[in-house]
């Protein structure tokens, strides 16, 4: 079954870190540059994220993600560079199009923010198994019911994709065309989608029964099958990151007051 999670187990130190540390890292990487209001801070976190991803051996995996958002960012750069309301100083021209300094500068700010957020999320997503993350939340008091809902998404979607493929095969085997003109595709919709819905409903019912049989709703205190993902360094890293946020906050307040 094909996984929809982007997680890859490379056995790196990032894989072994507690998910909470990585979440706090995301919060820090987003709030600190925002509080400081300096673009260099954002760039600093981008560099830090790249170093982290590199040491976690997952930098390559970020390329497709950057590729998709890169396209959007390039259009932002072009549009703001050409048309931003505060554009005064022309910087360079390509044919009839004149790019302005202020607009490009503004777009650069957006660029740094987006890439920073994207990469810091990559640090979490590419190195953390979704079920580990949710189990850690449940340990901290998150409802196990909702925890299950989140985890099951990662199982159910690939399962549905697989069912969908079998159903397509089954209907094509009965002589139904599924490819070609729009009308052919529209006609194919109901024979394809109804069995998916029906079997999903049946599966859901059976899943619910199977869970109940294994005491899903039991009021007893539950133990965990997997060992908690964390290292001894986690607590120090978390404290350091939180101190960083606090420092940035204090700096901002003193600037306001002063």
């Amino acid at each position: 079954m094909k996984s929809i999670s982007l997680y890859v187990d490379k056995g790196s130190w990032l894989n072994k870190m507690a998910p909470e540390s990585k979440i706090i890292y995301i919060i820090t990487a987003i709030t600190v540059p925002a509080l400081l209001g300096i673009r260099w801070a954002g760039m600093g976190f981008i560099v830090l994220s790249i170093i982290l991803l590199l040491s976690g051996k997952v930098l390559k995996k970020t390329l497709p993600l950057l590729g998709v958002s890169g396209f959007v960012l390039v259009t932002v750069l072009i549009i703001q560079g050409l048309f931003w309301a505060g554009n005064i100083t022309p910087l360079f021209r390509i044919g009839p199009a004149v790019f302005y300094k202020e607009g490009l500068n503004f777009a650069l700010g957006i660029l740094v923010n987006v890439i920073n957020i994207l990469l810091s999320f990559c640090v979490l997503i590419l190195t953390t198994k979704p079920s580990d993350m949710i189990e850690n939340f449940v340990r901290k008091g998150f409802s196990p019911r909702f925890g299950y809902v989140f985890i099951s998404v990662f199982q159910i979607i690939p399962q549905m994709t697989e069912t969908m493929n079998t159903i397509t095969d089954a209907q094509r085997s009965r002589g139904m065309e599924t490819e070609g003109k729009l009308w052919v595709r529209i006609k194919a919709f109901i024979p394809l989608i109804s069995p998916v819905i029906m079997s999903s409903l049946i599966n859901t019912k059976e899943r619910a029964l199977a869970l109940e049989v294994r005491g899903f709703n039991s009021k007893n205190k539950k133990t965990f099958l997997n060992e908690q993902v964390k290292t001894s360094a986690d607590i120090y890293i978390q404290i350091a990151l939180l101190l960083g946020i606090a420092a940035a906050l204090i700096w901002r307040i003193t600037v306001w007051l002063g």
Partner: protein, 267 residues
């Protein structure tokens, strides 16, 4: 009477990891069971036969004509396949409509389709249920409805993917009768299956798949006599054959009837 020629058939999903490594055989009028451990390539083979997958090398000839350039829908006129799980295909809310869907898709007119569908329902014993919602039928009868929906298409070749799953004794007997009837009507019947007793009872020929090769291909009896080779490919003999072996009989019998008849004649 149609023939299926399989010539040097290779297939791989990912390059370098071949599932089928050169199959060569001709499927003739005998009803044929393809057996083998999970992952031996049985399902892949029948998907190739249906045109759902395209071979990486080699070809399949249906009545002497390559199926490579035919669309799946075109192949469906000649080759029908009953999928393992009836829930993968059922979408109409009446058994009769469900069974008529295939025939209509392959270009039968409404009248003929209805006649064929009613015939098919008669064969599987669901004539009484033609207006029932398929999901109100139990799994085993729903599977019979799925079988009927392929029978109604009146194809020359019919493939059964694990027909005995979820069937009780009566259901299995019913499916045996269906297969025998199809065989007598001159249809080519192919199955992929794990139920060896069922194979011993109805199929005339067995092909054993192992690691992408057809390692045994003979009459059912000759195949099931090869205890060692079967064990190597993690298959077991039918029960009666096992019994004969344990009792030290030289000859093997496929099923109870054959056993009794064989022994009576000796006396």
């Amino acid at each position: 009477m149609s023939t299926i020629e399989v010539k040097n058939l290779h297939f791989s999903y990912v390059e370098g990891d071949e599932i089928l490594k050169g199959l060569n055989f001709v499927i003739d009028s005998r009803s044929t069971a393809i057996i083998g451990q999970n992952g031996a390539g049985k399902t892949t083979f029948v998907k190739l036969l249906k045109g759902l997958l395209k071979p990486t090398e080699g070809e399949i000839l249906l009545n002497g004509k390559g199926i490579k350039d035919m669309t799946v829908a075109a192949i469906a006129k000649h080759v029908g396949m009953v999928f393992q799980n009836p829930n993968d295909q059922i979408f109409k809310n009446q058994v009769l409509d469900e069974v008529m869907f295939g025939p209509l898709q392959i270009g039968m007119d409404k009248e003929t389709a209805k006649i064929k569908a009613l015939e098919a329902l008669e064969i599987v014993g669901l004539a009484e249920e033609k207006h029932t919602n398929p999901y109100d039928l139990g799994l085993s009868r729903r599977k019979l409805a799925a079988i009927a929906s392929i029978l109604a298409m009146d194809t020359e070749v019919i493939i059964f993917d694990e027909p005995t799953i979820a069937q009780d004794y009566a259901g299995k007997e019913r499916i045996k009768d269906i297969i025998r009837k199809l065989r007598n009507d001159g249809k080519t019947v192919i199955t992929i299956i794990h139920d060896m007793n069922f194979v011993a009872d109805v199929f005339e020929r067995a092909i054993v798949f192992a690691q992408g090769h057809a390692i045994l291909d003979d009459s059912t009896k000759m195949v099931f006599l090869q205890k060692e080779i079967l064990e190597k490919s993690y298959l077991e003999q039918p029960d009666v054959m096992k019994l004969c072996y344990e009792l030290g009989f030289k000859e093997g019998f496929l099923n109870v009837e054959e056993f009794i008849q064989g022994k009576m004649n000796k006396r």
